[in-house]
């Protein structure tokens, strides 16, 4: 319900408007742009990173259920030899020629780097690897935990589980 006030507002005010409402704006917004506090100085798009990264794990399948498998010590040479045989079996000589860089081997995990255009073939070859027989009679398999173009994202993804369980 309107009450009389000092101002006489423009006639486009609805009858239900109350005094505490702000008066309708009269300035033209197209002529006045509000400055924001953040300014974009420059943008850059990284469209073709040269390398892709993969987080692999080596697991052991025992021959029978009850057999206890000792923890295997993984080093870079072993990882390289498993990857080479996986690539050679799936992709032949051109697969074995894919340049794989081993970045880190820790426990049962390995981080490797391949050229970006070879990531799909590499992932397929590692997944299709039938495994090699290990010393204690089981089968050693390779497993891709994650792969992608950005190493930081892979590392963060790997440690996600640790936030809640430890």
């Amino acid at each position: 319900m309107t009450t009389t006030s000092q101002h006489q507002h423009p006639t486009n005010r609805s009858p239900e408007a109350m005094d505490i409402d702000l008066p309708p704006s009269t300035f033209d917004k197209t002529k006045f742009i509000k400055t924001s506090k953040t300014r974009v100085l420059t943008t850059a798009t990284l469209s073709h990173p040269p390398f892709s990264y993969a987080h692999l794990a080596v697991t052991q399948l025992p021959n029978d259920e009850k057999q206890q498998q000792p923890e295997l010590e993984l080093d870079a040479l072993q990882v390289k030899s498993y990857l080479t045989s996986a690539l050679r079996q799936f992709l032949g000589a051109t697969g074995a020629a894919i340049p794989v860089d081993i970045l880190l081997v820790k426990g049962q995990d390995a981080w490797v780097r391949v050229p970006r255009e070879d990531l799909a073939a590499f992932a397929a070859a590692v997944t299709a690897f039938p495994g090699t027989s290990s010393d204690s009679g089981g089968t050693l398999l390779l497993q891709i935990k994650a792969c992608g173009d950005w190493l930081g994202a892979l590392i963060a993804r790997a440690s996600e589980g640790d936030v809640w369980t430890r």
Binding site: F90, L91, A93, T94, A121
Partner: protein, 197 residues
């Protein structure tokens, strides 16, 4: 209806273990390079050799892509020419495997080169090309014999047309001077037309 599209490769077998200008002066060099092949070579041996090479170069993935559709459509030991059919998506794997093969796939095979001279989507164009190349070979041999016997003929048009990969020039047999053998590298590719496949 979905069309299964293939590529047809026309391949020559070139023999390398002959030195030009040897004592066999009566035979022109171009015929020495394009000798007939031994009669032991059968289509199955050729397919087996190509499959083995694709498996060695490209592994399980490559041989799975190529094996189903690989077939020798025509083999002529007399002219050392054969025609392969491959699926359209993966014919380059077979071409690469042919580049790596260095001997005739028979027992104690001679060292040789497998040269792909034409890729086409239709069998008809491949056959026409094979016939055309046979004619050019005869012309080139005649030119060479004529120049050996001393009569001055024009520079080897037919030989250049045989070796060249540029289609227009080879079709019209244009006279060029100082041809280089850059045509030895690859054949000429035809896209398949909407006609027969």
């Amino acid at each position: 209806m979905v069309r299964l599209k293939d590529r047809y490769l026309l391949v020559n077998i070139i023999y390398t273990d002959v030195l030009p200008g040897q004592s066999r002066a009566s035979v022109p060099d171009v015929l020495l390079y394009n000798q007939p092949t031994t009669g032991e070579l059968r289509p199955q041996m050729l397919v087996k050799a190509i499959r083995g090479e694709v498996a060695a170069l490209f592994g399980d993935c490559g041989s799975g892509a190529v094996d189903r559709s690989l077939q020798v459509k025509y083999l002529s030991p007399a002219t050392s020419t054969f025609i392969l059919r491959v699926s359209r998506a993966h014919y380059r794997l077979v071409w690469a495997a042919l580049s790596f093969m260095n001997q005739v796939p028979v027992k104690n095979g001679r060292p040789c080169i497998f040269r792909v001279v034409r890729v086409s989507g239709t069998m008809r164009k491949i056959e026409e090309e094979a016939v055309r190349r046979a004619k050019l070979l005869i012309l080139a041999a005649k030119d060479e014999m004529a120049s050996k016997n001393g009569s001055s003929s024009s520079s080897a048009d037919a030989l250049g047309a045989l070796l060249r990969s540029d289609s227009l020039a080879s079709r019209t047999l244009a006279v060029r001077s100082g041809q280089d053998d850059s045509g030895l590298v690859c054949g000429y590719e035809d896209k398949d037309t909407s006609g027969d496949g």
